[in-house]
Amino acid sequence: MDGFTTQELMAILAMQGFAGVSFFSVLLLMALGLAIIYGQMRVINMAHGEFMVMGAYATYLCSITLGQFPGMTDYYLFLALPIAFASAFAMGYLVEWVLIRHLYHRPLDTLLATWGLALIMQQGFRSIFGAREVSVTVPGWLRGSYQPTMMIDIPLNGIAILVLTLFVTLGVWWLLFRSRWGLRVRCTTANREMSGAIGINTKRVDRMTFALGCGIAGIAGAAFTTISSTGPTSGSLYIVDTFLVVVFGGAGSLLGTIASAFSIAQAQSVMEFFMGGSMAKVLTLLTVIAILLMRPEGLVASKVRR
């Protein structure tokens, strides 16, 4: 590379790589919810980004409410995270009950209905919070950066989001593979009819799964506020990448979703520096399409007799 010393190039790669890790964190938090919902119900939730924005606005409200109390600015995030989750979870639960459950087995109608829901939610955010983007007061302990060498700066908020993502991913793994609820989800995903015929209330599983997927998007929203400002349409910026992650990873596969989010985020982040944002996106998309042509089932597929 012209104009850069090897040392500078290594530092740039390390920092871009870490920027990619922050992007990976938000993308994974978004994709986890979407993968669970799509994996189980085959519902393409076009409003998933808006549930993220809902979590972001919940965090914003916590920030301005608790920020009025001295000393709380540094700690409001610990309350905001569960509130962001709970508000998106409750909204998801309601949406499944009012809208989604009537549209199972009609994927195109679900697509249209959730897209309409996304527009309604965007307008709702606009009416309540205004069209301008809002920002939270980032807690003091999340400002600044960690400098492992003189040339490398790693922002603390990026590290915090990564830790949060790790905890949420472990939580989702535990729920899916170690809890009774997870067993119900995996059964329903594998064979809905048969799950009912062994006593599983699949409708209740659907509602809880949809709500949980939305709740995780709410957590993504809370994390998002620490790296960017929030507007009514912020969710739409992430939704395409999130779908890409879910499809590329192999729908319904947790490991695939993680691998997919990491590779897409890293590829985009590193390439962005050398060829600009648009070109990086185009190249990532072309690579994903090429891989999907060779592996239509995505990165991770099951290997058992059916």
Partner: protein
């Protein structure tokens, strides 16, 4: 125990089960026999609630006609479908645990592994990696842990080696005696039903056309119904 009155099942405008009625007593074993396409699987799917039906279903005095599948399982029906339909991506242990949904027990009772020792040895293996016979045992174990009053078995010998068929019949007799449950089984293998059924009924084009007790069964006549 199980009373089926005027059961009707249709696929669109085509009626497949026509006003079918039969009863099963406590701990009784009834075999529904018939060729392919006569309505056996449709009957079983309607009984467990996978397919919508008309008519009245009473289980132990409780009307289960309007119930969904999971409610019927909670009421005391258990279903082993044709082709087993085990969850191939789940381990053997998880497959059995999935059947505990409506049971009082929260852990797999040890008697299940006493009945099917091979499942204990393979409990960490994925269900999809088991042989056909092992999958059949797994499907029966999954149904049994729900503590049913009536076990519905749809063609349990399909795709199973002839040498194992006799073993399955013996196991079902053991289960019936141990658990004190009724068994409704659909079959095409007459020798199997003669080993384990108290009564034999023949289904033709969605109606029961012949019925008799095992002790007095005219095997030649039943075989003529099963001949293609």
């Amino acid at each position: 125990m199980l009373d089926v009155s005027n059961l009707q099942v249709s696929y669109g405008q085509s009626q497949v089960i026509h006003n079918m009625s039969f009863t099963m007593g406590k701990e009784e074993s009834l075999a529904v026999m018939g060729r392919n396409g006569m309505g056996k699987t449709t009957l079983f799917k309607a009984l467990i609630g996978i397919l919508p039906s008309e008519g009245k279903l009473m289980l132990n005095g409780q009307d289960i006609s309007g119930m969904s599948s999971h409610q019927r399982v909670a009421a005391g029906l258990a279903y082993v479908p044709q082709g087993r339909m085990i969850f191939s991506n789940l381990s053997v242990q998880e497959n059995i645990e999935a059947g505990l949904e409506t049971a009082r027990a929260k852990k797999v009772p040890s008697e299940i592994f006493d009945l099917f020792p091979v499942l204990h040895d393979m409990r960490h293996r994925k269900g999809g990696n088991l042989s056909g016979g092992q999958q059949q045992q797994l499907a029966i174990a999954r149904a049994l842990v729900s503590e049913p009053k009536v076990l519905l078995l749809d063609e349990p010998t399909e795709g199973i080696q002839p040498s194992i068929i006799k073993e399955i019949a013996a196991t079902l007799n053991e289960i019936r005696a141990m658990k004190k449950i009724a068994i409704l089984v659909s079959e095409q293998v007459l020798s199997f039903t003669m080993e384990m059924a108290d009564r034999l009924a023949v289904i033709e084009k969605g109606s029961i056309v012949h019925e008799e007790r095992r002790e007095t069964a005219d095997q030649a006549k039943i075989a003529s119904f099963l001949a293609v």
